[in-house]
């Protein structure tokens, strides 16, 4: 069964005052994501991939098209607060910039306390704190190093792990990971990816990576969608997309990426 069905999704931004201009950020895209599937939406900046992510997260309204999550249209079938809460709990995100993901005025665990607002069960303060500590341990952090700290006191990799710990608390069915590794050092990147993969293994979570990094997409995903100028130009399993690209743009993209084990022929 498909967990997420996106059908003919479009987003047009209109900008300007007197001379109003329309910018089509996303043009009529459709795809499906199955249970436990990892899918990557690959594109350069301005390709519309982040806009797509925000629409899926119900943060901005699509201009047209449908997003159906677990059988419900997320813009039309979610009416009560209870339904919205359940949706927010089931579909969650990890964002690109660990520095912008934390409000500098609060200790970092605030983002985890927030998660309890989405849960059905009421927890006492102590129970909640225990759960927070457990999930920090799960993502390889020592609660002692984290609790009570402010965002500028911990590293980017640690911040990104806290965001994943928030997902451990919520146990969402679907995670949208918007460039989760682009702003942290190479040596901690693998850890973040592994944590997300572990989440998928243990909880059957579907994950959608939004990234410009075809190397990451190739490594982690079951399926790759390549986006350019608001359209999905290629859709297939990673080996096909990378080793045997069909669309002209994908060919250029794959041909431009520096490789480790082979030299680019034409430079």
């Amino acid at each position: 069964m498909s967990r997420l069905v996106v059908k003919n999704l479009s987003k047009v931004f209109s900008i300007g005052f007197l001379a109003r201009r329309n910018v089509e950020a996303v043009k009529n895209i459709s795809f499906e994501v199955k249970e436990k599937e990892i899918i990557s939406l690959v594109g350069e900046s301005g390709s519309g991939k982040s806009t797509t992510a925000k629409m899926l997260l119900r943060l901005i309204h699509p201009t047209s098209g449908k997003i159906v999550f677990e059988g419900k249209d997320i813009w039309n079938d979610i009416k009560t607060n209870q339904e919205l809460k359940e949706f927010r709990r089931s579909l969650h995100a990890v964002f690109q910039d660990p520095f912008a993901s934390f409000n500098p005025f609060y200790p970092v665990e605030r983002t985890m306390w927030q998660a309890f607002r989405l849960m059905d069960k009421e927890y006492s303060k102590n129970e909640a704190l225990e759960l927070i500590k457990d999930s920090l341990v799960k993502v390889g952090l020592d609660p002692k190093d984290i609790l009570g700290k402010y965002p500028h006191q911990i590293s980017g990799g640690q911040k990104q792990r806290i965001m994943i710990a928030r997902c451990w608390l919520l146990k969402p069915k679907f995670i949208i990971a918007d460039e989760p590794t682009s702003m942290i050092d190479a040596s901690s990147r693998g850890g973040i990816i592994k944590l997300l993969l572990k989440l998928r293994e243990e909880q059957g979570t579907s994950i959608m990576f939004i990234t410009h990094d075809l190397g990451l997409a190739y490594y982690v995903s079951d399926r790759i969608l390549v986006m350019k100028e608001g359209r999905i130009v290629e859709d297939g399993n990673p080996d096909d997309v990378v080793l045997n690209p069909q669309h002209e743009y994908t060919k250029i993209l794959v041909g431009s990426i520096p490789k480790l084990y082979r030299k680019l022929e034409d430079i």
């Binding site: 350069e44 040596s187 850890g191 592994k194 080996d239 431009s256 520096p258 490789k259 480790l260 680019l264």
Partner: protein, 330 residues
Amino acid sequence: MSESLVKIENIRAYYKLKNREVKAVDNVSFEIMENEIIGVVGESGCGKSTLSNVLLNNIIKPLTIVGGRVLFKSNGEYVEISSLTREEVRERFWGKEMSLIPQSAMNALMPTIKLSKYVEHLAQSHGIPKNELLKKARKRFEDVDLDPQWLNRYPFELSGGMRQRAVIAIATLLNPQLLIADEPTSALDVVNQKVFLKILLEMKRQGIVKSIIFVTHDIATIRQIADRMLVMYAGKIMEISPVDKIVEKPLNPYTEGLLNSVLTPEPEIKKRGITTIPGTPPNLIEPPSGCRFHPRCPKAMSVCKEKEPKLVEIEPQRKVACFLYSEERA
């Protein structure tokens, strides 16, 4: 056998703050040979950008050279540029003997100063007739696939990729011997990255520049263009070797960790998997004792904590700083 163009000897460059010092480059020695591209790789905060400032003698407080020297071969003689002032080096060497391509062209170019002004300024400061150099600039712009018309435009009118090409065209106008490229591609998308790398290699093929030092965090890029790779960690050199050999068999465990964290779209990567180096890079105010990598090193031994490994040649052309390969390991 080519000679060395630059010799860096036991350089220590610290940021001297009020009551502490950040040891950004700590006792580093290596040579840049003539006709080679050397890639410097490391994570953020390892001292690689400080290193390019040391090469340029672009020493601005609080950065201070605490010890060591930099020798630059100019007209067949080695000049100790680290003993000159920043202004002297700027006058005599910048643009003519060595040039910098920074990470973002916007850092190098004022958005509201016409590109041709930079050329005129360059001509003026080296006593070359303006028109001659402008003519050369037009030609050079064509070489990097830019319409010479763009010379009369302002930097903000150019796209990121075009701007970076304009910078390389202007930076190499006087055919400097050494080109220092500090993360020149990290602000570009992959398609423009490749175009830029092509231009860089073409400049070297044509002999416009002799040697290039390419500083980046991206090993795959170095793999594509460089002859030798220098791996830095916490202000120290961990390994210098020909690129092919490093990729084939990294010696230092840190190099190995870095290589294993690279994700490129290649089947080998999928087979190999991805690993993480545990922990975070140390702060450079009080770096760990002994080998600076030992707290994170999977192969650390007791000696690593106590003594600092020297950078020694263990195979022809391969130098590594690690007790795994030295006699002292017992």
